[in-house]
Assembly symmetry: D2
Homo-oligomer: 276 residues x 4
């Protein structure tokens, strides 16, 4: 059996060009188009029909690598006008909130759309993402980022304050990327399916402390607070070692699930992530 | 607009019951069925038709919480007869290898099927996972785990040694969870789409050191070595602090992409994960 | 030149005996004495005169290793009736507060005396440690721990509440290991030399948040908040990897220095520990 | 009781001046001397007699803080012509190797003298440090750094290759900060007291893997491999959070103790740093 062939860059594909200094460019391969860099011009007509993974050359002779875009690279590159979630955070959120094909997921705020992209990628054509934002220019940016990836059809962008509640009910999952999620927990409850998945990211401990009692008072349970740390290594086989520096903090991740009944009996807290 | 309603546990659903001590049970809600615990028996007929997120009671009066299964919980619970990847690792792998709806993904070895589940979950009904394993009993276990989640149709399990190569070509992504991936890189190359996504997990530094030159010699580039650390916090709003202990290591993650041309010109190494 | 010879266990020495299962015993080598273990009796007369680093045998033939005590092992073993600082924390505190021979250092509370031991060890015979505690039984325990190490003469233990202030002034350094240091900062100021070294350890973020403004209002500057993480590796040369689990948290360390003048002009905050 | 008074900057003292942008200057307060900065000149005659912890002014009106030097700051500032150990590493080394007043300690290589300073500081006037180096210019730099801190009398600097062995025997502790410690373990054994303390720091995993079997073959036991991570927080009481970036790696620390007898019976490995 041979898997479906898509080994060759086609007209209209989104491509990732990587320069000799590892600078990454995302381009849509329109005929006649070109990428201008200080290392020279790369003509898209030279790329269309080339195998992914090829070396291509600018008119000045600089080598670029032609790749299909990696989701991680796309997320890192998404314009950072706002506090951005990193791939390390997004990957864990997707797993812990069970985001998958066919789901209905709500997000606020949209920001530059990094998480929106990942959610849309994962719910697939049968699912849908509704994303709220109050800053018009951020929504525009997110729309552009989604369009570039052909993900717009899976996403409804709303320019609307969630203070007045979400328009939806029975969502599979709701994620908040806002500075004050503790102000919107009743609204989240109303939008979420009973037992659904709530998540948010917060940069400071003070914000986490403010959120936790509000979750409890709104009958959320199975609350988890955690952070994800990513440590890179220099990939030299004979001098293997971590990189000198690393991103030390993006945010604390909080997950919880809304329960139907009053929690007279509380589930035990998970005090430790060392099971058994 | 109201999102599709699936707020109520239905006959045949997979459910997650959580005991007062936070013990997790996954059960298929067959009529007449029951869960026997040392806290008493929970009858499934009492659960069918109840809202997700409800408290339910055993015949001895113990409270259990009725939830739809979380993917993270499912992955943690997947029987651990082998070195298992944790949700923190799996989430990052899915992002970095761009796993999404509709893709064709290869994995070896299957093990107990934790990553297989996550891959199948993410490629959705339009995608497919081919998973190789040489130990028959592991394959059986993985099959059982996939069946329980109704994911079997998205996965082809093969009882076959990859020493002789994969049957597929042009796969979007290949992941190896084996002790000696350095022995199979030529095979991976042959199965992967040019420019596709390769990943693996290795517990020791010695294994990473052995793998890196083999990747290089087989014209893989954009190699990344990293590890993901997950730190939990005790979710007490007025005594917020990390848990006392944590999982300190599961494995090193390695990612790389096969290039078409000979890499006379090497891309710059990513020496640091601090961009800009 | 030959360095002074102390290669042989002498009568009266404190010794560290390590069992085959790595259990550590600290014993004072009194003639006629013995250590009773479930692996048999080790007679001290058999140890006196033996070289440090020897293997010795219990009467049942179990092998024990005879070592001079390591300070790290001693600190780990100090009875843990209270929240204990770990060697990783103590080492950093000693450096950051410049603790060295000849200094006058104040500590509250004494607890079981782990930090007291390290301070007394480091100030040497020419220095002095004053340690406050309000729980009589803790002070007794600390006194016993200090006596065992012959460090009692370097330490004054006070059974006294620091609410009413310290008896001393112009101390080189003051360290607080108390749940509510924010209640004692004026007292610390009065006891510390201008520009001296203040430090404390706190397990929760809430406590850190309460302390910081009080430090600021009392003209402390150069405030640092940090934590020290220790990650062990399994020392196998051909399967090198981190241990599976680790201590994820002991406490946050806070350091600051009292300034003389009103801080109309504030020094810049250290936002980052990446210098240059 | 009032502790000894040294509250005032005296002629000849080493002082630490901190600029408004947190730049640190170490100066010896010689009469008539001055510090020239781009924020203006600070005259030492204006500092002598001032209380430590004072604000002082440059002739242009910029505020500087006058402090006694912190050992941590001194170690960070020690000229970095070589791979330098950070205070986080040095503090743990001092504890784990039991460095204290009165001891005889050997080090190789000297480098710029950061660890040398900390060792000399801790052994006090009754102890002694012997430090080997083969690069003359590094030794000169270390000598200058030691002189500035008045620590020269406690240190013997040797311009000598340890390939031919150390001149000393029965040292309490030997620390190696060299790229190839595995080549010098027999020499270390000869210089160390039986049961003494050996330590070293190595940046790569490959070096650790080469060292471990050599330690074992030379009858070293109780081997520990670890790393120390330091995470700083932004000290804002109402927005408490880790700094964005951190030093991710300096080196792996290895500790071991030379045993007298052949280790037919090996002590159990410490597999985990979670005791009890």
């Amino acid at each position: 059996m041979s898997l479906p062939d898509a080994a060759v860059a086609q007209e209209g594909d989104l491509a990732q060009l990587v320069s000799p200094s590892n600078k990454i460019y995302f381009v849509r391969l329109e005929p006649g188009g070109e990428l201008q860099t200080h290392r020279g011009v790369v003509r898209f007509d030279d790329l269309i029909g080339r195998s992914w993974g090829s070396q291509v050359s600018s008119h000045q002779g600089s080598i670029f690598w032609l790749l299909q875009p990696g989701l991680g690279d796309l997320l890192m590159e998404t314009k950072r006008n706002t506090q951005i979630m990193y791939p390390k955070d997004i990957g864990y959120v997707l797993i812990m909130m069970g985001i998958g094909p066919g789901q209905q997921v709500i997000e606020a705020g949209t920001g530059s759309g990094a998480l929106t992209i990942a959610l849309a990628w994962n719910v697939g054509p049968a699912g849908h993402v509704i994303s709220y934002e109050i800053r018009e220019e951020m929504q525009k940016l997110a729309r552009k980022n989604l369009q570039r990836l052909d993900l717009s059809e899976r996403v409804t962008l709303k320019l609307q304050d969630i203070r007045d509640g979400f328009d939806e009910t029975n969502a599979d999952a709701v994620f908040l990327d806002l500075p004050n999620p503790h102000g919107y927990i009743a609204q989240v409850r109303a939008a979420l399916k009973p037992g659904g998945f709530f998540g948010c990211i917060l940069p400071t401990t003070n914000q986490v402390e403010r959120l936790l009692p509000v979750l409890h008072n709104n009958n959320f349970a199975f609350t988890e607070v955690c952070e994800i740390l990513l440590r890179h290594y220099k990939p030299n086989y004979d001098r293997l070692r971590p990189t000198d520096r690393m991103i030390a903090h993006t945010g604390y991740l909080i997950f919880a699930r809304p329960m139907v009944s009053d929690l007279d009996v509380q589930p035990a807290l998970v005090e430790d992530n060392i099971s058994e």
